[in-house]
């Protein structure tokens, strides 16, 4: 449990809410703190980057950064919320190369603007997909697709 304790003590100023089960850890941070927290987990704890989940919720766009602490068998998820009207967040790609694609994808489907992303172009939506539609947004204007 060493790394988890480390995490807790080193980041205690930044952690807003902490949830822990036997094999899963979830904690919330402010969106400004994401690069620092993620950098700490990825570089200092040496955790494996798994993926980022983005979802549109009434509270705003929720982002979950999942990391695997494999030798402990734990998955650590960092949660943050972004204002749904002006979705912007610092990109973690400069820290984790592997996050490049998922951020591009979230940009495609949720319209989150990742600041300082090295290559924030379209990843999965078609070339002719309209610019301002985001399939996974809850807001009615974003609709089902270009037709709906």
């Amino acid at each position: 449990m060493n790394e988890i304790e480390d995490l807790k003590s080193n980041l205690k100023d930044l952690i807003i809410k902490w949830q822990e089960t036997q094999r899963r850890v979830y904690f919330d941070v402010q969106k400004e703190d994401v690069p620092r927290v993620v950098g700490y987990i990825f570089n200092d704890l040496g955790a494996r980057f798994i993926i980022v989940t983005g979802m549109d919720t009434p509270r705003g766009i929720e982002m979950l950064y999942h990391f695997g602490l494999d030798h402990l068998g734990k998955v650590v998820s960092v949660r943050t919320f972004i204002d749904g009207d002006r979705p912007e967040i610092e990109s973690v790609t400069p820290i984790i190369k592997g996050a490049g694609w998922i951020e591009r994808e979230i940009h495609d489907i949720l319209g989150v603007n990742f600041l300082h992303h090295p290559n924030l172009k379209r990843l999965i939506t078609a070339d002719d997909w309209p610019e301002d539609k985001y399939p996974l947004r809850l807001r009615p204007s974003s609709g089902k697709g270009p037709e709906g």
Binding site: T125, A126, W129
Partner: protein, 138 residues
């Protein structure tokens, strides 16, 4: 003319293209060539260039990105050539019917000569479909 058509039925060269399938159909198509099924008995070859193809074997629902490419490839293929929709997705979109990025089944984009349902169709079904398709050529 008749001889050439006859020859066509004896030597269908297949170009395989996946317009958004889950891979199963594609693997089964390759499977058709392998020792257990050995479609080369029937003259079937998998070719690398659309220019050599007689049969376009299309798998998967047609996604928005793939649709214009599918159309383009169909136009680039030398005629006479056949289009076979392989798998439930290609014939009817199947499980992906309502997905926002799926344009529709293959026959919405290009004319289809044969449909092979199944998820995925068994290699035997693929071979039998090919044989039936070629049997209709006269």
């Amino acid at each position: 003319m008749k001889l050439k058509l006859k020859a066509l039925t004896k030597s269908p060269w297949v170009f395989h293209l996946n317009t958004g399938a889950c891979n199963n159909c594609d693997i089964e198509i390759l499977n058709v060539l392998t020792p257990k099924f050995d479609a080369e008995r029937l003259g079937v070859l998998l070719v690398g260039s659309i220019r050599h193809a007689d049969v376009l074997l299309v798998t998967g629902p047609v996604t928005r990105q793939a649709a214009p490419r599918l159309k383009r490839l169909y136009e680039q293929a030398p005629k006479p050539c056949f289009v076979v929709a392989c798998g439930t997705c290609a014939t009817s979109c199947g499980i992906f019917k309502d997905a926002y990025n799926v344009v529709g089944p293959v026959d919405k984009i290009v004319p289809v000569n044969a449909y092979i349902p199944g998820c995925p169709p068994k290699p035997e079904a693929l071979i039998s479909a090919l044989v039936k398709l070629l049997g209709t050529v006269k």
